[in-house]
C-alpha cells in the first residue's frame, strides 16, 4: 500500500517534469508544423547555463531565471536566423534541427565534460516532508516540481485562452493561412511562440536538473519523452500535453516499480495504441 501510494506520487511528479518540457515542444510543433528536434538540446543547455549562473550568483532561483531567459533568447534567435528561412519546408527544418542538436550536444560535451551536474537546491526545498493524510515521507523538491508544472500549466492556459496573443496562437494552430489573411504578422507570433517554447525547455532544464541531474544524453532522453508525450496527447494542445505527460509518467514509474525490466516497453505500447486508435492524439484535432 505504501509502495502504491508512493508510486502514484512519483508518477505525478515525473509527469510534472515531462509536462514542463513537452508543453513548449507541443506549442511549437502545433503552430509551426515543424518538429524542433533541438528541443532536448535547449533543455540541457538551459540546465547547464542555469547551473553556471546559480554557482556564480549563489542563488538557485536566479539560476532558474537564467536558464529560462537564456533559452528564450536562444529560441528567438533560432527562429529569426534559421527557421524563418526554411518556412514551409518541413523536412529541411527537421533536418536542420537535428543537425543543430548534434552540434550543440558536442559543444556542451566539450564545455561541461561528461560528469553529471547537480544543483544545490535551497534548504527549504531539500529533504523530505511528512504528508499528513497518507502518513508518508516524501521529498519536498519533487512536490515542488509538481507545483511548478501545475502553475506553468495554468499560466499557459490563461495565456492561450484569455489573451489576444493566445487567440492568435490558437488561430494559427488551426489555420495559419487564414490568420495571415486577417492581417496578423505571423512571423512575430512565430518568434514569440518559439521563444516561449524554448524558455520553457530552459526552465525545465534547471528544474529537472535539480530533481535528477544534468549529463550528456539527457537532451535525447527529454526529446524522446517530449515526442512521445506530444504524439500521445496531440500536437498544439496544452491539455493534450498534460494528459500525455500523465500517461507517460504513470507508465514509466509504475513500470519501474512493479516490473523494472520491462518498464520501458509500456511507454511505447501506449504510443502504439494511441497511434493505432487515434492517430491525431488524445486531444488533437484531425486535419
Amino acid at each position: 500500500m505504501k509502495l502504491f501510494l508512493l508510486t502514484i506520487l512519483n508518477s505525478l511528479t515525473l509527469a510534472g517534469l515531462y509536462f514542463l518540457v513537452a508543453s513548449g515542444f507541443s506549442l511549437v510543433f502545433g503552430l509551426m508544423r515543424s518538429v524542433n528536434l533541438a528541443h532536448g538540446a535547449l533543455y540541457l543547455l538551459g540546465g547547464y547555463i542555469g547551473w553556471e549562473v546559480a554557482e556564480f550568483s549563489g542563488s538557485w532561483l536566479i539560476g532558474i531565471a537564467a536558464g529560462a531567459v537564456s533559452m528564450a533568447l536562444c529560441g528567438a534567435l533560432l527562429q529569426l536566423c534559421v527557421f524563418r528561412f526554411l518556412e514551409g519546408q518541413e523536412l529541411r527544418q527537421t533536418l536542420v534541427s537535428i543537425g543543430l542538436s548534434i552540434i550543440v550536444a558536442d559543444v556542451m560535451l566539450a564545455t561541461w565534460g561528461g560528469q553529471a551536474y547537480q544543483f544545490e537546491v535551497p534548504d527549504f526545498l531539500w529533504g523530505s516532508v511528512k504528508i499528513p493524510l497518507l502518513g508518508l515521507k516524501y521529498p519536498i523538491y519533487r512536490l515542488f516540481v509538481l507545483a511548478a508544472a501545475v502553475l506553468a500549466g495554468i499560466l499557459l492556459w490563461l495565456l492561450l485562452n484569455r489573451t489576444r496573443l493566445g487567440k492568435m496562437i490558437r488561430a494559427g494552430v488551426d489555420d495559419r493561412t487564414m490568420l495571415e489573411a486577417t492581417g496578423v504578422d505571423i512571423q512575430k507570433i512565430f518568434v514569440v511562440v518559439f521563444a516561449l517554447g524554448a524558455g520553457l525547455a530552459g526552465l525545465a532544464g534547471v528544474v529537472g536538473g535539480s530533481a535528477l541531474s544534468l549529463s550528456p544524453g539527457e537532451d535525447l532522453r527529454y526529446l524522446l519523452a517530449s515526442l512521445v508525450v506530444v504524439i500521445v496527447g496531440g500536437m498544439g494542445s496544452i491539455a493534450g500535453a498534460a494528459y500525455g505527460a500523465l500517461l507517460i509518467g504513470f507508465a514509466d514509474t509504475f513500470g519501474l516499480a512493479y516490473s523494472p525490466t520491462y518498464g520501458v516497453v509500456y511507454t511505447f505500447l501506449i504510443m502504439i495504441v494511441v497511434l493505432a486508435v487515434r492517430p491525431q492524439g488524445l486531444m488533437g484535432k484531425s486535419s
Binding site: K2, L3, L6, T7, N10, T13, L14, W51, L109, G113, G114, Q115, A116, Y117, Q118, F119, E120, W126, G127, S128, K137, Y138, P139, Y141, R142, L212, S213, S215, P216, G217, E218, R221, D252, T253, F254, L256, A257, P260, T261, G263, V264
Partner: protein, 412 residues
C-alpha cells in the same frame, strides 16, 4: 582563397599520413563510452590510453603510434560499430576497449571474426568475456566485476556486521558479475539478501526503487556507475533514506565522488573494494597519480578506476610490442605470445594473465573518508593479493556455479 588553402592543407596532410603509413606506424584504436551514462568514465579511459602512449614517447621499437578513438554509449551494438570502423575501415591493428560489460561480451565475439587484429579489453568487467568460450585474440588485463569486489563480502559480514541487505544494481552482465562476487562469500558466511533491484542502465528516476526498499535491512549494496550512481545517491538522501551503503567499486569511484553538487558526506564510512584505492601509498600508484595530474590538470582529483585500467591495457600492448621489436607479422603471433607471457608492475601492483588471457591482480579494500582538500577519497584498508578470476576455487568448481545472472547465486 581560404577554401583553396584549406583543401591544399588537407591534401598535404593526407599525403603525409599516406607516406608515414608504409611500415613505420602501428595503428591503435581505442573504444570508450564517450556518450551516455558512462561518458565521464569513457573520458577517463581515453586519458589512460594517452598517458601510456605518452610514457613511451609516442613510439615503440622505432615505430610511431597512431591513435584513433571510437565512441560507444554502453550498448553492445554501438561498441561493435565503433570496433568495425576502427578495424575494418581504418585498419587498426591493436584495439583497446571497450568499457562496459555487455560491450565486452560483444567485442569478444567480434574479435573472433578479425584474426588479423588483437583486442585488449579496456574496462569491461563481465565474467564470460573470458571465463566461458574465450577468444584467441582477446586479452583482458583488467579484473572482472567479481574480482573487483574480492574481500568485500567477508568485510561487510564480519567487520560491518551487516546480516540482511538489499541490492540495487543495473540490469546487465557486469553488475551480475560484481553482485555474484560479493554474494558468494557473503552468503556462504550466512548473510541474507532481502531483495535485488535490477534497474535498466541509464535510469534517472529512482524514486520507485527507493520506495520499494524494505525497512528491515541493515544496508544496501549499490552497484551503479557514472550518472546513474549520482542520481540514485542524491535521490536516496533526498527521500530521507538512512540505511548505510556498501558500494560496488564504480559507485564510489572518483568519477562519482568528485561530481559537482551537494556534498556526499553520507557516503563516509561506506566500504568498497576495487582495483584502485585513492590513498594507496605504493610508489607505482603515486607515480601514476602524479603523471595523470600533470597531464590532465582539468581531470579528476585522482585518476579513476577506468583511467588506470585503460592505461594498464595500453601499456601491456606497448611492452609486448617492445619485446617483439614491433613485429606484427604472421597474424601477430609473436606479439600475442609476448603479451600472454608478460608480467609487469602496474599502478595496482603486479599483474599477469591466466590461460584464458584473463588478469590476475591485487585488489584494494577501502572505506570512504574525507580527503585532505575537502573532497571524499577511498582510504585503503587492506590489499587482497593476486586475485584470480575463479576467486581461488579451481576452474571446474567455479564453472559449476553456472553463468552469473539476476538470480545466481540464490543465497538461501
Amino acid at each position: 582563397m581560404k577554401l583553396k588553402t584549406l583543401t591544399a592543407l588537407a591534401l598535404a596532410a593526407t599525403l603525409q599520413t599516406g607516406a608515414a603509413l608504409a611500415d613505420d606506424t602501428i595503428k591503435f584504436g581505442a573504444i570508450a563510452t564517450l556518450e551516455g551514462p558512462f561518458a565521464v568514465l569513457g573520458q577517463e579511459g581515453i586519458r589512460g590510453v594517452e598517458l601510456a602512449i605518452e610514457e613511451f614517447g609516442g613510439e615503440v621499437a622505432g615505430k610511431k603510434i597512431e591513435l584513433m578513438v571510437g565512441s560507444s554509449n554502453a550498448q553492445p551494438d554501438t561498441a561493435v560499430a565503433a570496433a568495425r570502423k576502427l578495424v575494418e575501415q581504418d585498419g587498426a591493428q591493436i584495439v583497446i576497449g571497450p568499457l562496459s560489460g555487455s560491450e565486452g561480451l560483444a567485442i569478444k565475439d567480434y574479435s573472433k571474426t578479425q584474426p588479423q587484429a588483437s583486442f585488449l579489453n579496456g574496462g569491461s568487467a563481465a565474467q564470460d568475456t573470458t571465463l566461458r568460450d574465450p577468444s584467441e585474440n582477446f586479452f583482458r588485463w583488467n579484473p572482472d566485476g567479481a574480482q573487483w569486489v574480492a574481500g568485500l563480502g567477508e568485510y561487510t559480514f564480519k567487520e560491518k556486521g551487516y546480516r540482511n541487505i538489499a541490492i540495487v544494481a543495473e540490469d546487465y552482465s557486469f553488475p551480475y558479475t560484481l553482485v555474484f562476487g560479493f554474494m558468494k562469500p557473503y552468503c556462504e558466511l550466512g548473510g541474507k539478501v532481502a531483495e535485488r533491484f535490477w534497474v535498466p542502465l541509464g535510469t534517472k528516476d529512482y524514486s520507485s526503487v527507493i520506495a520499494s526498499i524494505p525497512d528491515d535491512i541493515d544496508a544496501i549494496l549499490v552497484t551503479l556507475g557514472g550518472s546513474d550512481a549520482i542520481n540514485f545517491l542524491s535521490q536516496y538522501q533526498q527521500a530521507g533514506g538512512e540505511k548505510p551503503m556498501v558500494a560496488g567499486s564504480i559507485t564510489v569511484d572518483q568519477s562519482v565522488l568528485s561530481s559537482k553538487g551537494r556534498s556526499k558526506d553520507y557516503l563516509i564510512g561506506t566500504p568498497t573494494s576495487s582495483p584502485v584505492a585513492d590513498t594507496n601509498t605504493a610508489k607505482e600508484w603515486t607515480d601514476f597519480v602524479s603523471a595523470y595530474q600533470a597531464k590532465f590538470p582539468e581531470g579528476l582529483p585522482t585518476p579513476s578506476l577506468f583511467a588506470q585500467e585503460y592505461y594498464v591495457s595500453t601499456k601491456a600492448a606497448l611492452l609486448a610490442l617492445q619485446e617483439v621489436d614491433g613485429d606484427l607479422s604472421d597474424q601477430q603471433k609473436a606479439f600475442r605470445a609476448a603479451l600472454s607471457d608478460l608480467t609487469f608492475l602496474t599502478p595496482a601492483g603486479e599483474r599477469h594473465l591466466d590461460e584464458n588471457r584473463q588478469v590476475v591482480t591485487d585488489i584494494f579494500l577501502s572505506e570512504i573518508r574525507p580527503g585532505e582538500d575537502g573532497g571524499l577519497v577511498s582510504e585503503l584498508i587492506s590489499v587482497i593479493p593476486q586475485v584470480n578470476q575463479t576467486l581461488g576455487d579451481d576452474r571446474e568448481t567455479f564453472l559449476a556455479y553456472g553463468p552469473v545472472g539476476r538470480d545466481n547465486p540464490e543465497c538461501k
